[in-house]
């Protein structure tokens, strides 16, 4: 890894002194012209980028109330200044939410407000210069759009809305980010972020079926493109092969099996993730979501269930109905869409699942609330269900569970440091440093309560933690899927238990 050190965790989380420009060098790779053009954006920075950027900002101001209200409404009270995990991990003042917003606000004021046009110095308005554009590229790619700042802002100003708009503007002048735009191209052509074609997917699922049968003696199926299935499972493609994600997928399969559900995965829409949210593009987000709607229609399913993925669940829960609804062709007796944790929890409450909690006794668990689930969605029919239901599932399958400090979980949860389209190796320094607040909270429960593992329900969180935990003296397998815990505990009919001989 490059020349930087992971922040040293102390006894408690300190608010760092300002360290100006300390992260100005952090920039993700620019997208190739082909990545940008595939999404309908200019391949490279256009000649009249300044005019185009201001024009696009003007258009977004007309189209998005949040952007307009949030650019106008900030009073610089400072409430958000110590809330961003990237600020806490780096000390760079431009990672304070208000200062990040100001990178765009300064241009808004200069070109769109009376005060900024005539008294720019007074109100901190600046011309859009190349230096400022470079700051945009750097610092709007140091926001994971986790919305923690929006919880604490007295006006609910959501920096995610600002950084999405900024990225949308940059895409429209040919300054796209490689990681997001390349991935979106793959979803459009192949159907998933990884570019995993149908045949490879079929082989992977068959391999998993064999693994499960070998382990349990039960023929649990992971059906692909099964027409007439009741349930379409849409899950992040990382679930098909990455660790610890795949153990979660095995967990979903076992739950479906135990419930006797008729379910399927689609090869056409083999991806729950929707990176278009990260680049702030409504149209792209709609196009990606449309594949899932189409797959559901083609397969004739009655329900859609979404696997463990944070931003995908936000898009599914909060945006699908808007983007590609109405889902009038699905069974209206079930939530549309439904989260896999809601599904599993219902079965647990009905007593359908046969669970042996002691199978997880070798671990003491804590739960990481993923930001998009916590602050961007809900589960169940009561506010806060997104906190209670995953915990209820964990507690139903584990004896040892401890929560982290209250200000670091639920609505106050800290981002893993890799969300919002930043889960790329070219941002590794940012990712490691941004994980510090979560690592601090985890360290505390490890030391005080002997926590061994942290469970999560987000593919990005899982990948990120597996990568950064070793930087903080933990093992990469200390992060675990919630449905891996379910998988461990569930006893299927005909199950061959390892310790059967002992009884």
């Amino acid at each position: 890894m490059a020349d930087f050190e992971a922040p040293c965790l102390k006894d408690f989380l300190e608010i760092p002194p300002l360290n100006k420009h300390s992260m100005a060098h952090s920039k993700p790779f620019l997208a190739q012209p082909s990545h940008n053009e595939a999404l309908g954006f200019p391949g490279e920075l256009v000649e009249n980028w300044k005019e185009k950027a201001i024009e696009k900002l003007g258009e977004l101001l007309e189209k998005n109330r949040a952007l307009r209200v949030y650019l106008d409404g900030c009073v610089k009270c400072g409430a958000c200044t110590d809330k961003c995990h990237y600020f806490l991990g780096t000390g760079d003042p431009k990672n304070m939410p208000v200062a990040r917003q100001d990178l765009l606000r300064t241009v808004y004021r200069r070109y769109f407000t009376f005060a900024g046009k005539y008294f720019p110095k007074l109100v901190g308005a600046q011309d859009l210069t190349r230096e400022l554009l470079d700051d945009w590229y750097s610092y709007f790619h140091q926001c994971s759009q986790c919305r923690r700042c929006s919880v604490y802002c007295p006006y609910g100003i959501d920096t995610a809305e600002i950084s999405m708009a900024a990225r949308e503007i940059m895409d429209h002048i040919g300054m796209g980010q490689k990681y997001c735009n390349e991935i979106l191209g793959k979803v459009h052509t192949v159907g998933n972020n990884l570019g995993l074609p149908e045949k490879a997917l079929a082989n992977t699922l068959e391999g998993l079926e064999e693994d499960i049968e070998e382990e349990t003696g039960v023929a649990v199926k992971l059906p692909l493109d099964k027409k007439g299935a009741d349930i379409l499972l849409v899950t992040p493609s990382a679930d098909f092969f990455a660790e610890p994600h795949v153990d979660g997928l095995i967990g979903y399969a076992k739950v479906f099996h135990a419930a006797g559900a008729n379910w399927t995965i689609s090869s056409y829409a083999s991806e729950a993730a929707n990176f278009a949210m990260f680049i702030g593009s409504y149209e792209q987000m709609q196009e990606v979501a449309e594949r899932i709607r189409q797959a559901a229609i083609d397969l004739g399913v009655k329900r859609i269930i979404v696997g463990e993925c944070g931003h995908a669940w936000r898009v599914a829960y909060s945006f699908w109905n808007t983007l590609v609804g109405p889902f009038d062709f699905l069974d209206q007796d079930y939530p549309i869409p439904q989260h896999i944790c809601e599904y599993t929890n219902d079965l647990i409450e009905k007593g359908v699942l046969n669970l042996d909690k002691s199978k997880n006794d070798h671990m003491t668990l804590t739960f990481h609330d993923s930001c998009n689930v916590a602050r961007g969605s809900r589960m169940g029919d009561k506010p806060g269900g997104q906190f209670e239901i995953p915990r209820a599932v964990i507690k139903a399958v584990c004896n040892n569970f401890v929560d982290m400090a209250p200000e670091t979980i639920k609505e106050g949860t800290f981002c893993c440091g890799g969300g919002g389209g930043l889960l790329t190796d070219d941002l590794m320094e940012l990712r490691v440093k941004g994980a510090a607040p979560r690592m601090q909270a985890l360290k505390d429960v490890r030391e005080e309560h002997g926590v061994t593992h942290m469970a999560a329900i987000c593919a990005i969180c899982k990948t990120q933690f597996a990568k950064v935990m070793p930087q903080y003296g933990m093992k990469m397998n200390n992060i675990i899927s919630v449905h891996e815990l379910v998988s461990n505990a569930i006893i299927l009919d005909g199950h061959i238990s390892e310790d059967e001989g002992d009884e």
Partner: protein, 244 residues
């Protein structure tokens, strides 16, 4: 002459304030919110949202969660100012409404609260590194303006009394287009002049946070995305294109 200048200033400032704020509100109101983005957990009914907004506007709930010091100073300032403004209604009503009469004694103490809150908020802008970093000259000037208004008010209350009956006659005269002479007291003229400036800059400054908070989608949206389809006006065209 003085009376005419101040009367004209008040008419001008009132017009700018009303038209300006109405213009900003109309922009906020007609700009659609394309997606459901309430900061969760959010209320699942309209009544729930009304209660959330009430808590936000009356108690500054989010700020309380965020930082107890900013909350204390900010809330003290705003509540005190509200009482002070209400107290000032006695200059605009004849006979004075009973409720304003009740507020009268509290309003005097509130003046101290307002000034204390303002000075504490201002001090933060100098002392705290992070807040200093995000402060623009206009942020300081805004506080200076409010401190100026509050202190000139205090001077008239405790140091150099002005003829409040004449002031009241002037204000009522403004309202009924029957201009009465304004006492030529320099402190009074400063006080009123600063108020005029405040009213004029309101629609062009961060003071817009007052109307803006009502339009914040993260606070005023109902969490019902799965049950009710939310669609912005411009997104309907996209729907049509997709053959819906």
């Amino acid at each position: 002459m003085l009376t005419i200048v101040y009367a004209s200033l008040f008419y001008f400032a009132t017009a700018v304030f009303i038209v300006g704020v109405a213009w900003r509100i109309s922009i906020y109101a007609r700009t659609p919110a394309p997606l459901k983005i309430p900061t969760m957990p959010a209320p699942i009914t309209k009544q729930g949202v009304a209660w959330r907004m009430t808590r936000e506007i009356v108690f500054f709930e989010s700020l309380f969660k965020s930082n107890k010091w900013i909350w204390l100073f900010g809330w003290l300032f705003h509540v005190s100012m509200a009482l002070v403004v209400l107290r000032h209604l006695r200059y605009f009503t004849d006979p004075v409404w009973a409720v304003i009469g009740i507020i009268q004694p509290i309003g005097l103490y509130a003046g101290f609260g307002m000034l204390a809150g303002l000075l504490a908020l201002w001090l933060r802008r100098f002392v705290l590194e992070r807040v200093r970093y995000i402060s623009n000259p206009s942020d300081h000037l805004m506080l200076a303006l409010l401190v100026g208004i509050a202190s000139s008010g205090f001077l008239m209350q405790y140091v150099e009394r002005v003829d409040v009956l004449a002031v009241k006659a002037f204000m009522l005269g403004l309202m009924y287009f029957n201009i009465q002479p304004l006492p030529a007291n320099p402190i009074l003229l400063t006080h009123l002049g600063l108020v005029v400036i405040l009213m004029i800059i309101f629609p062009f400054s961060k003071l817009l946070h007052a109307p803006a908070v009502f339009f914040s989608p993260t606070r005023n949206q109902v969490d019902n995305a799965r049950d009710k389809r939310h669609l912005a006006s411009w997104a309907k065209d996209l729907d049509t294109k997709r053959g819906r």
